[in-house]
């Protein structure tokens, strides 16, 4: 594992971490060595895992973004057909980092202003409990305008979840039957064929996993990329 001297927990978020990596190596923000930075970033996430820290999803999203940029950088560039400039896959990341750096500088300036300002001490306004503040005269229109603000807040229609058309339990029975009809063994690909719909594929796949869990079937493969076979285990029956 590469040597990293990053203190765990130090980072507010993925951009904070990225910024640190970039500043640490004095890298040009407009020409980020994406392969290197991605590796360092992921190394850091792994370190977090070692320390049993929950990695916030924000960090994972950034990891995915980095990997995606990396793969796009590695892909051969399509032949330039037009004079249109190909966008650098890193551009979005650069924009984000520049924007983030700006905000950090601004936060720092605000902190300095605050430190200076805190030298002046004010006093609380005098209280007059016997006087109630007058309220500015308002009209019905003002009230309606406020309602208008609320108005088009999306009224969320309840999401309809379609009933599962393929039941995993049915599929399990189905697969067991098929196995019995075929001398207790079948090629995996025959169970998951492209002829069936996506939801049926998912149901079949889940059924196979479940049957394995229940020790009703075993799966074997002679070597990588050779066909996968599904076998019925006869030592176990009637679990269903």
């Amino acid at each position: 594992m590469p040597n990293y001297n990053i203190k765990i927990q130090d980072f507010e978020g993925p951009l904070d971490l990225l910024m640190h990596l970039i500043e640490k190596d004095k890298v040009d923000i407009y020409d980020i060595p994406i392969v290197d930075i991605t590796e360092q970033y992921i190394t850091y996430l792994n370190a977090m895992k070692e320390f049993d820290m929950d990695i916030a999803s924000d960090f994972l999203v950034m990891a995915a973004t980095l990997l995606q940029i990396k793969s796009r950088m590695l892909l051969p560039k399509p032949p330039v057909e037009s004079t249109e400039e190909q966008e650098d896959p890193r551009q979005m990341l650069v924009d984000m980092l520049v924007e983030y750096r700006k905000i950090r500088l601004q936060a720092k300036m605000l902190t300095e202003c605050l430190a200076m300002s805190l030298g002046y001490h004010q006093r609380k306004p005098m209280q007059f409990p016997d006087i109630r503040k007058k309220i500015k005269h308002l009209s019905f229109t003002d009230l309606l305008d406020s309602l208008n603000g609320l108005l088009t807040i999306e009224k969320h229609e309840p999401a309809l979840i379609e009933r599962q058309r393929f039941n995993v339990q049915d599929k399990m029975n189905n697969i067991l039957e098929l196995l019995e009809q075929n001398n207790n063994s079948l090629e995996f690909s025959s169970l998951i064929t492209s002829k069936i719909s996506r939801s049926e594929i998912i149901a079949s796949f889940l059924a196979i996993l479940e049957l394995m869990r229940l020790n009703r079937i075993t799966i074997r493969q002679a070597r990588p990329f050779s066909p996968i076979f599904v076998f019925l285990r006869e030592d176990m029956t009637d679990v269903l």
Partner: protein
């Protein structure tokens, strides 16, 4: 006078404290004797006697308190009573919900606005535009809120019946229940 230079220190302390400070307390902070503080207070009071000053020192609650001269009482009251309270957009939205849906609970308001309303509801209660109006007969018996007479006066209505019905397209709000 020798301690003269501490006059400003005492003034600053009294100002920032707001409440009365005992001479012991002031002496401790300035690391001097209480007698010195007494003399400094006397000096300050002499300063404040000038017509050009608006403040004076009150000997109260066993200490000294910086206050405005009583001559300016009426003037200062104008500061408060002249002030027109401006309602924030958050407050206006919440008020509109209370007005049209009353009696209504906090969680019903939150459902419509999409954010916590505790702060805004408290502000509205303080202004006297809304008030508690019983409790809802549901789990936890949440407090219901309604508008007050001050609300009617402020908006120029004679009664709640005068509140025009919600325009059709605003009926979205009606459908938000609990």
């Amino acid at each position: 006078m020798f301690y003269d230079f501490l006059r400003g220190h005492v003034e600053a302390l009294l100002f920032a404290a707001g409440e009365p400070l005992s001479k012991k307390r002031i002496a401790d902070i300035l690391q001097t004797e209480t007698e010195t503080i007494e003399r400094l207070i006397a000096l300050l009071e002499e300063d404040y006697r000038s017509k050009n000053r608006g403040l004076c020192i009150r000997h109260v609650a066993g200490g000294y308190q910086l206050v405005t001269k009583p001559d300016f009482d009426n003037l200062i009251r104008q500061l408060i009573s002249q002030q027109e309270l401006k309602l924030s957009s958050a407050a206006m939205e919440t008020l509109a919900i209370v007005a049209f849906k009353q009696p209504v609970t906090r969680s019903e308001m939150e459902a419509i606005r999409g954010v916590k309303v505790d702060g805004v509801v408290n502000t509205l209660l303080e202004t006297g535009l809304i008030c508690e109006a019983g409790r809802k007969d549901s789990i936890g018996k949440p407090i219901l809120y309604g508008t007050t007479e001050l609300f009617l006066t402020t908006f120029g209505f004679n009664s709640l019946e005068e509140l025009p019905p919600l325009p059709e397209d605003l009926s979205v709000l009606q459908s938000v229940e609990d």
